[in-house]
């Protein structure tokens, strides 16, 4: 698939912007702070309904404007579709597909698929476990949009359960039978919804492992082997991907830690406490890998995500925000070779020299809020 047209209104630094795009490689080039990332961030937002560099929607709306609108005309299997998202910070966003409103934006999640590489990806390797859980969950959602629902259900259950644990913890006295019975109910809902998420993550990690190893080896042929392992908060008990069995295991896990949970007032067991362990050779990547190795690992994770989405059918749109400047010549051209065959590749770079020769295509100059085709 590819984006044929991008139209912005009050998005980040842009009051308005209209950009016509084509399949193949497109580079956005211009000095720092001119709005290159803002453009590709908008494309990423259409795909994932989130930003790769802001935790909330508020920074996406131009200073002083009440809302932002992003429109993307996309072409998928030769068919055209127009996606429109209205970003209303603090209120519900709205979405339209081919000019008709959809009841909830979530329903058009997955219409556009993209994989975005950015300097921020370094936190996939160096950051908290939450970053790696988010990587897995976002990829799950990109592959099967119904996971947006599974994730939000799970998060809501967790919030409810934590509220209950916290109020029980605040009372100090041992909780009454009604509190315990209510907790039992939330336990069973957490186990059911958590099992769904956990099973999907385990399957995803199994699918990613060979792809990550291969991508890392291609980028950094001299380095050790890259590998992934899913570490569950249930401990080392051998997890299958059978949902029923996982739900039972989760139920037992929360039952076993109930006393501790009641003392601390938080949920200690479940996919929200799990970790995706990245390793290079015999060592964990986090805390051990060099800066360059960490970078290669982060890129390998994104490349693997690209391979996986690609194998599902349609090519996702590849977005490379400022990544080549960070790489040495060898890795730069190896990455370029890997991404060149994608149906559409969008690149940002501060100087033309940062766009590898392997990736020829059209380019735009971005300066002073203007996006002009060269």
């Amino acid at each position: 698939m590819h984006v044929a047209h991008l139209s912005l209104q009050d998005f980040r630094s842009y009051a308005t912007a209209e950009v016509a795009l084509e399949p193949g490689v497109t580079a956005f080039v211009g000095p720092n702070g001119q709005g290159k990332t803002n453009l590709v961030e908008a494309v990423g937002y259409v795909a994932s309904h989130g930003s790769h560099r802001a935790a909330t929607d508020a920074p996406l709306v131009r200073q002083g404007a009440p809302r932002a609108i992003v429109r993307a005309g996309i072409v998928k299997d030769g068919r055209k579709a127009l996606i429109e998202l209205e970003i209303n910070p603090g209120r519900a966003n709205r979405a339209r597909l081919n000019r008709s409103p959809v009841p909830r934006p979530r329903e058009i999640l997955g219409m556009l698929r993209s994989v975005l590489f950015a300097p921020e990806d370094l936190t996939l390797v160096k950051g908290d476990p939450g970053e790696r859980r988010r990587f897995l969950d976002e990829l799950l959602t990109a592959r099967a949009p119904r996971f947006a629902g599974v994730r939000s259900d799970y998060e809501r259950i967790l919030k409810q359960r934590n509220a209950l644990l916290k109020s029980a913890a605040a009372h100090r006295r041992s909780p009454g039978p009604e509190v315990l019975a209510t907790l039992d109910v939330w336990d069973s809902h957490l186990a059911r919804s958590g099992a769904e998420l956990l099973a999907a993550r385990l399957e995803l990690v199994a699918a990613l492992r060979p792809l990550v190893a291969q991508a890392y080896a291609a980028l950094a042929p001299a380095g050790g082997a890259a590998d992934l392992a899913y570490k569950s908060s249930l401990g080392d008990i051998g997890l299958s991907t059978d949902r029923g069995q996982l739900a039972d295991q989760l139920l037992k896990g929360v039952a076993d830690s109930r006393r501790q949970e009641l003392e601390r007032g938080v949920s200690l067991v479940g996919p929200h406490r799990d970790e995706l362990v990245l390793s290079l050779g015999e060592m964990p990547a986090r805390g051990y890998a060099s800066h360059g190795e960490s970078w290669s690992f982060a890129l390998a994770l994104r490349l693997a995500a690209f391979d996986l989405l690609r194998a599902d059918g349609d090519d996702p749109v590849l977005i490379l925000d400022d990544v080549f400047a960070e790489l040495d010549a060898g890795r730069r051209s190896r990455l370029a070779e890997r991404v060149a065959p994608a149906e559409q590749v969008l690149i940002t770079a501060a100087v033309p020299a940062d766009v590898p020769d392997e990736l020829t295509g059209c380019s735009f100059s971005v300066a002073d809020g203007q996006v002009v085709r060269d």
């Binding site: 919030k159 409810q160 109020s167 009604e178 019975a181 209510t182 109910v185 939330w186 809902h189």
Partner: protein, 199 residues
């Protein structure tokens, strides 16, 4: 900020569900400009509901007497109770004409975030109604969202030792939704296809 009484009115309106500060202001100025007779009728209606309407002592539905119309209606099936969150859900279900039993209005759903636990809902009253053995089926028609599901699970577990038939409205209702907003056809079908709840 406006002067005393106008701001009071805006504040009071703003406390109503679904009325934000902007709407509160709009309604307030609408009322200021309106015909005094219209405003008189509104205040009368407000006062009357508070004076005349109360909650049915049996089921918790809104009623103009001690008991609501449905609880007093001898033609209703006394062996089935449909449990809902709010009185407005009774209205929605009555519209489908699928249900001939009686209701029990809980007054909400279990939601620790909002500080609502089972003891804040009319669950004790429900257990009293179930005690004499007349009732043989319980239909759990709480909202099809997480809090409604949790409440249904809680109740199903609570009554399990009593050996009643406990059913839950069939899915097909929009998930994450409000019973009140389900259309009549969907809600009617959900009644026909209700499933046994095993917990």
């Amino acid at each position: 900020m406006y002067e005393g009484v106008v701001q009071n009115l805006i504040d009071e309106l703003g406390r109503l569900p679904g009325v934000g500060p902007k709407s509160a202001q709009r309604i307030a100025f609408h009322l200021l400009a309106a015909d005094p007779a219209d405003v008189e009728r509104l205040t009368k209606a407000l006062k009357e509901v508070k004076d005349k309407v109360r909650f049915c002592r049996t089921c918790g539905n809104v009623a103009e007497e001690e008991e609501c119309r449905i609880c007093r209606d001898a033609r209703r099936d006394p062996s089935v109770i449909c449990v809902v969150e709010e009185s407005k859900d009774v209205v929605a279900i009555e519209k489908t004409r699928e249900f001939r039993g009686r209701y029990h209005v809980l007054g909400g759903a279990i939601s620790p975030i909002e500080g609502v636990g089972p003891e804040d809902l009319r669950i004790r009253e429900l257990m009293q109604r179930l005690a004499d053995g007349t009732i043989t089926e319980l239909i759990l028609a709480t909202d099809p969202n997480l809090e409604g599901e949790a409440t249904a699970t809680y109740l199903a577990r609570l009554v399990k030792p009593m050996g009643l038939t406990v059913t839950r409205l069939a899915s097909g209702l929009p998930v994450g939704g409000d019973l009140e907003y389900a259309d009549e056809v969907t809600l009617g079908r959900a009644f026909e296809g209700r499933r046994l709840l095993d917990v």
